[in-house]
């Protein structure tokens, strides 16, 4: 059977026919893992990433009829995912503000205690260094370094110019290199 494009699947879902569930399941097959890992690197903890991912897919389903094919589906999906993950962090910041002076310490602690972080020592040091970046710079670094997303697509996801993204990534790399030098010497 010929593989349908994202746009064709969205058209089927919006018709609300018998096949709409299958089409939505196919969209999830294509993107749920990528979306989860993107969200996970922002919120760090698995349970939080699970909650945020589910919310993102529900929002996608509810708003799919308003999706215009001006942008790619996956950049639209990443945009919703990024916004949901960042607002999850804002809520969490308010809840843990009394216990942690600096939120990044809370995230580092979460990484330490998370059963579902199984990285080696260098991976852990790298994640801790990334956590010291400002949130939006952290997102830029993750999208470019781990997911190797094109700057043009990143610009659609983050609603920022390509030039600004390049500069942001450059600064992020510099900071992480310095942090790792200190940590690994």
């Amino acid at each position: 059977m010929e593989k349908k494009t994202d746009e064709q699947l969205i058209h089927i879902i919006n018709k609300q026919s018998r096949k709409s569930e299958l089409a939505f399941a196919e969209l999830m097959n294509r993107y749920s893992e990528r979306l989860y890992w993107h969200v996970r690197k922002i919120v760090i903890n698995h349970d939080s990433a699970d909650d945020v991912s589910q919310n993102v897919w529900l929002k996608v389903f509810q708003n799919l009829s308003s999706f215009r094919n001006d942008s790619k589906f996956y950049t639209w999906l990443y945009r919703i995912g990024t916004n949901e993950a960042l607002s999850h962090i804002q809520k969490e910041k308010r809840n843990v503000a009394e216990d942690y002076e600096v939120y990044e310490n809370y995230l580092a602690n979460t990484l330490e205690s998370d059963d579902w972080f199984q990285g080696d020592e260098i991976q852990k040091k790298l994640q801790e260094a990334i956590l010291k970046l400002p949130e939006k710079q952290r997102v830029v670094f993750n999208l470019k370094y781990f997911e190797e997303m094109k700057y043009q697509d990143m610009a659609e996801v983050l609603d920022t110019s390509v030039g600004a993204l390049k500069a942001s990534y450059h600064h992020a790399v510099k900071k992480i290199e310095e942090l790792l030098k200190v940590e690994l010497i």
Partner: protein, 128 residues
């Protein structure tokens, strides 16, 4: 990246998920977006009419079946009455024969009966 620790072999981020997690995630989301609903069949008027006729038919057939299998005392009574009438007829026939009551049939009717297939039978009104 210039730093030796940030080369490609460390691009794995070290995060993991429980086994089968993505299947569970998909199932949970689909359960919320496409809940399985019980099908409701609308009953229109003609359907209700057919259903009523079918129900009445079933009741009549069931009643007939029940009564035909039940101990039927009226059949027994009919059999007893028929038997009694037969006994009465036989007694009357015997009485006529023994008392030699004359036949009301004419001679020509007698001849016809004698020559017909009934001739071989013993006729109660035959002259002794």
């Amino acid at each position: 990246m210039k730093h030796p620790e940030l080369n490609n072999k460390h691009k794995k981020d070290g995060f993991a998920v429980p086994e089968g997690y993505f299947d569970t995630l998909k199932a949970e989301v689909l359960q919320k977006t496409h809940p399985k609903q019980t099908r409701i069949i609308a009953l229109n008027r003609s359907f209700m009419r057919y259903a009523a006729v079918l129900l009445i038919g079933l009741l009549v057939a069931g009643g007939w079946f029940y009564l035909s299998n039940a101990d039927n005392s009226s059949d027994l009574y009919d059999n007893m009455v028929e038997s009694e009438i037969y006994m009465y007829d036989y007694a009357m026939l015997d009485e006529y024969t023994s008392s030699g009551v004359e036949s009301d049939l004419t001679n020509s009717e007698d001849n016809y009966l004698i020559n017909s297939e009934y001739g071989s039978e013993i006729l109660m009104y035959e002259d002794n």
